[in-house]
Each structure stands twice: as C-alpha cells, then as structure tokens.
C-alpha cells in the first residue's frame, strides 16, 4: 500500500529507509491464585534477576553511546528494581494475599506510582515513569513475552512505534536508526527531545502509522514538514534524496554560525535569543547559538498540578535557568494565565470572552498573594545570573505602575530581611494590546525594554481569533496595521534610549526578519532551532537598504502587497 501520513515534524531532516515496527507486547494481567506460593515468589525473583541483567546491559550501552547523563536513568531503574519496599510488597502480595506474581507486581507498582504522583513536586512526579518502565520490563519476563530490543538492529531502519520510552531511546544506535515515527507524542515528548539531541529525523502524532505501515515497508520521512511517504515511487525517492543532500549541506553551512555574533551585511549588530518553557530548554538554546533567553514562560511551573508552586520551588527553577545561561541575559515573564491557559485550582469563573477577560497581569494584580510570591522568587534568583523581568498584557499605565510598585516593595522587604538581591534588574513590559502599542511613547519612559508579543498583538489588532478557522485568514503578521504598530513601538523605545525586543512567532519568521531588521528591532526571540538560520539570513541583509524602503512598505494598502515586495527584494522564501 502506498500513501501519505502526516504528523508533527519534531526533529528536522530527511530519512529514506525500511520500516522497523516496534510492537508493544500485550502485558494484560488476569487475576489468578497460584497453587504453589513459594514457587510463585521464586518465579518473580527469577524475572527480577533477568531484568537486572537487561538493565546492566542497557546502562552500559547508554553510557557508551549517549553519555553518562543518559545512563543515569538506568542507574535509577536498577535502584527501583532492587527497592526493598517494592520487592517486599510484591512478595507479601503473593504469600499473604494469594496474588499471582504478575498481579502482585502490578498492584505494588501502582501503589508507589500513585504515591509519587500525589507529590507537589513535578520532578518527583515524573519519576513515576521510571517505576512504570521497570514494572513493564519485569512483567515482560514474567509473561515470557519478548520485550522488543532495539539494540539488535543492524541495518538502516526507520522505527515506527506508538511512542518511545527512555529504555527504548537509550538502545537506539544512530548508525542504523535513520528516522522515528510515533503515533503519539508531540514536540516536547521524551522521544522528540531525544530525536533532536541525536539529530535523528522524527515525525510524531501520526495517529495511525502502526496500523498502516507493515514491517519492511520502504518509507521516506521529512522531519521538518511532518510527512511520511509509504512505498514511494522511484521518482519520489530521487526527489527526496536530493532534498536530503541539500538539507545536510545547509546544516553543515549553518554550524559555522553557532560561534559568531549576529551582524547584518552592513555591519549592524542585533541579538538573537530564544523562547523557552522550562529551565532544561536552556541547554538547547546554548547549543543553537542563542545569545540569551528572550522569553521564559513561567506558566509551566503552575500547570499540571493541584496547587500553586511555592516560592522555593519557583526560586529553584529561576536559579536553574539563570545558572545554565552562564551570565547571558534571561527575560522571565511573570505569570500569564487565563485566556486559553487555565488553572483548575484557582477556581476562576468561566468567562464569555476569556481572551478579553481576567488574565495575566489583570489576575496577578487582583491576587497579590500569588503575584508577590513569584516576584520574591524572581528577586531572590536575581543574584544567580543576568535576570530581566517582563510583565504580560499591560493595557494601561496604571497596571505597569502597580506591578513595578509591588516589585519594589518585595525588593525592599528582602533587603530588609538581609537577603541578597541584584542592584539593577531591568524591568520591561509585553506589548500585546494595541492600546499599549499606540501609547508606547508614554510607556517607554517607565521601562527598560519592550517585548513585543506578536501572537496576541496581531489577534487583538485584527480582532481575529487565529484558532477559529472561519476568521484565521485575518490573522496576518504583514497587515500594514500591524507593521505600523510595530514601527511605532520600536521608534518610541529608541527615542527614550530603550531596547525593543520581539518574542512572538513573527520574530522567527524568515519573511518577517528583513522587515523587522529594517525597522530597527534590537532583539529577536524565537524557537532555539530558528536561531542559526536567522543569523545566516541577517548576515546577508543590509539593514540600511531595507530601512530606506520602510516608508514605502508602511504606506502599502494590503498584506499581499507587502509580501510581494518582500519576496521581490530580499533573499527569502515566503512560506
């Protein structure tokens, strides 16, 4: 069967190879009472011993191929496997509850999993996945079911799986595994992160790949576009072989930009920084040549849990990211919750227009308890690196002043209590609401920098919800109204000697970069993977030349005219 599948491109690159299906074995457990309880315990111990030998092997393999850091996961698995409380509970289940080894293991593992999941510490909660992985391994041995072993692969393949566990990815041999396709997962799932760090092209979220792709099927995957082609014709293979060679050449050309500053063809320097959602993303930013963090979204600290994060938990996360960035600037945005991001434990009432409602700074100013906790954590972390703070969704001057006042109060409280706080912490605001873009000249006097959040600014300017298919056509970064607002904001910042940064998706768009450079934007914040292509592009553009045609672009009547002008005059593809 030939055909196409689409998913999310989660690790760029192209691969052409045959499918290797990773079928998860059926580990269903039926309840039964064993006749000989002692023998049942011995059967369990034997399965544990086999699992221990597997794990020792996988651990060595991981240390060899992925480094000690990745191998540490399996050291943890071994500890779980030897855990006396877990083992005693299983044995007790068998001897005194009359359970089979399989059922006894499942019951004991589930007990510890739910204990870990109930903790209010995200890191600990994630450790429940380790228990799951270990239980699965032992269960496989108990049931005599072959748990698939990826380390035996000795020919070039593309792995097709439901999803990959840490045990799976540790066994991947880069030499033979050319690509990964998963039914589930997304950009931030474990297998996607591993695929990117191993530079293996990957497509996630294909839903039906396991049903539709047979073992040995010839596949092409495009990890950029998120496309899988099954049984391609010769001509298609030829086309992708060319694309693959071009991609590899392009990557090799980009690598040299990692160590270079960002400078336009006419010698103007700008800063390329990255947007992140978790402290651990910082490593990826540095690897991709990012000059700092332009937006650290703090929502992840608040989401997927049952109550607010404590000051110490937040402090640890902020300190972590600042230390990882080793003195490079890190802009942390205070809590931007509400709108499409809800926190069930705040019990906020349902709103008719959440995007025009009680969100971000509006909520924080009404809940000073919550806001002050975050500000204290930020201030305490300020001595650990180069921290800058930005407030989201400022629509009126009063909001900015109130937020700054609270920050000042908390700073004074900490200093009084003898806690060290950095002398000078730059404070900025997000420009997301048209009113603040129009009034940027007034705001510029009271801040150190602007961060323009184009995703919201565009949707508010055109009054179009970009998730609504009926009106998504209106959501247009190149609309002259948007461009004029951006120019107003950037000019207002410069007039006061302040910086203008942008952290919306527009900042990383190949077609928008020339325009933003020409307008004088100082800082572009984007996904880490977009930094090197952007640096290369900027090195080919003359800021002065684009600046000269800026008035002409700002006078255009439609987005189409702007886009045509860009594609005609600048060396970019419009995508």
């Amino acid at each position: 069967m030939s055909g196409w599948l689409t998913g999310h491109g989660v690790s760029a690159g192209i691969a052409i190879a045959r499918a290797f299906r990773l079928k998860e074995p059926d580990l269903a457990v039926a309840r039964r009472t064993p006749a000989d309880k002692e023998a049942e315990v011995r059967r369990f111990e034997c399965a544990v011993e086999k699992s221990r030998r597997d794990l020792e092997k996988v651990k060595e393999q991981a240390a060899r191929e992925l480094g000690e850091d990745q191998a540490a996961v399996f050291a943890a698995h071994l500890l779980v496997l030897q855990d006396p409380e877990l083992m005693d509970r299983v044995k007790d289940n068998i001897l005194h509850q009359g359970m089979s080894a399989e059922f006894a293991l499942k019951e004991a593992a589930d007990t510890f999993i739910s204990a870990l999941e109930s903790l209010d510490n995200e890191y600990m909660r994630e450790r429940s996945a380790d228990v799951r992985d270990v239980a699965k391994r032992v269960l496989g041995h108990l049931l005599g079911v072959q748990v698939p072993d990826l380390s035996v692969i000795r020919e070039e393949v593309i792995i097709v799986a439901e999803d990959l566990t840490p045990s799976n990815t540790a066994q991947l041999n880069r030499k033979f595994v050319k690509g990964i396709i998963t039914n589930g997962g997304g950009f931030t799932s474990h297998s996607a992160i591993m695929a990117r760090s191993m530079e293996i092209p990957a497509v996630a979220g294909t839903q039906t790949s396991l049903d539709r792709i047979g073992d040995g099927t010839l596949l092409i995957i495009d990890g950029q576009e998120g496309i899988v082609i099954m049984n391609p014709e010769q001509a298609v293979v030829k086309k992708y072989e060319k694309k693959k060679a071009a991609y590899e050449e392009y990557q090799a050309g980009l690598a040299k930009f990692a160590q270079l500053p960002t400078v336009s063809a006419d010698g103007c320097a700008v800063r390329l920084v990255a947007n992140i959602s978790a402290p651990s993303d910082a490593d990826n930013v540095l690897q991709n040549g990012g000059e700092g963090i332009g937006l650290f979204r703090t929502e992840f600290l608040y989401m997927g849990r049952r109550q607010l994060p404590t000051e110490d938990e937040q402090f640890a996360a902020y300190k972590n990211v600042l230390e990882r960035m080793k003195g490079k600037p890190v802009v942390i945005r205070t809590l931007d919750i509400g709108g499409d991001k809800q926190l069930p434990y705040l019990n906020l009432p349902k709103e008719a227009n959440p995007f025009l409602g009680f969100r971000a700074i509006r909520l924080c100013l009404k809940r000073p308890d919550l806001f002050r906790t975050q500000l204290r954590a930020l201030l305490r972390a300020s001595t650990c690196g180069n921290l800058k703070i930005t407030f989201p969704m400022i629509a009126a001057l009063q909001e900015l002043r109130q937020a700054k006042q609270l920050l000042l109060e908390e700073k004074e409280n900490l200093v009084k209590a003898g806690i060290a706080v950095a002398d000078k912490i730059e404070v900025g605001m997000m420009i997301e609401v048209p009113s603040s873009a129009v009034m940027a000249d007034v705001f510029a006097k009271e801040i150190d920098f602007f961060s323009i959040g184009t995703n919201d600014l565009i949707q508010y300017t055109l009054a179009a919800d970009r998730m609504n298919k009926q009106v998504a056509y209106l959501y247009e970064p190149f609309h002259p109204a948007v461009l004029r607002l951006l120019k107003t904001v950037i000019d207002a910042a410069h007039k006061e000697g302040k910086r203008a940064a942008m952290c919306g998706e527009m900042a990383g768009m190949e077609a928008a970069i020339p325009v933003l450079l020409g307008m004088g934007l100082d800082e572009f914040s984007m996904n880490a993977s977009a930094v090197l292509p952007a640096r290369k592009l900027i090195s080919q553009l003359s800021k002065k030349e684009i600046g000269q045609s800026m008035d002409q672009m700002l006078q255009m009547e439609t987005a189409e005219q702007v886009k045509q002008f860009i594609s005609k005059h600048f060396p970019i593809k419009l995508g």
Binding site: E85, A115, Y123, M124, R127, D312, A316
Partner: protein, 88 residues
C-alpha cells in the same frame, strides 16, 4: 540502635539525585536503616520509600540504624548528607 537528627538545607529538599546516592550508600551496610519524617518511617534502602515522602527544605528528619555496622552506617550517612549539602 543508633540515631541522629538532621535538618534539610537543600532548597529542593531530598530530590531524586541525592536520594539515589543516599540509598546506594546505605544499601552497602547490613544494618537496618530507617528514615523518619513527620511520624512516617521508611526503609532508607528504598528509593521509592524515600522519594514518596517528598522531604522539603527545612524538614527535620531522624535516621536510625540497628545492626552490626550501625555506627559506621550513621557516620557514613552523616558524611554523605554534608558532602551533598543536603543537611546539617
């Protein structure tokens, strides 16, 4: 039986990495070693037991050991807690 009390000073509490080191260290001793926090007692040779307590910064914990090498066990645990800057 020997016992000693500690105050956790690491701001993340006893999290996964130091917990692993602690459990690996304790497992080398033949003595029974327990950790008590807020009236709950767990086997200090059990990584899941230790982690499931979710011990935070500032927690007062009590560690007790009983068996032939109990003195040596308590001594080594004290050293590890200090070396890992976990407790004082």
């Amino acid at each position: 039986m020997m016992e000693r009390s500690f105050t956790i000073i690491d701001e993340a509490g006893i999290h996964a990495r130091p917990a692993s080191i602690l459990v690996q260290t304790v497992s080398k001793f033949s003595a029974d070693v327990n950790l008590e926090f807020k009236g709950k007692k767990v086997n200090l040779k059990s990584i899941l037991g230790v982690m499931s307590l979710g011990i935070p910064e500032g927690a007062e914990i009590n560690i007790s050991a009983s068996g032939e090498d109990e003195a040596e066990a308590i001594q080594t645990i004290t050293e590890v807690l200090k070396k890992e800057k976990l407790a004082k």
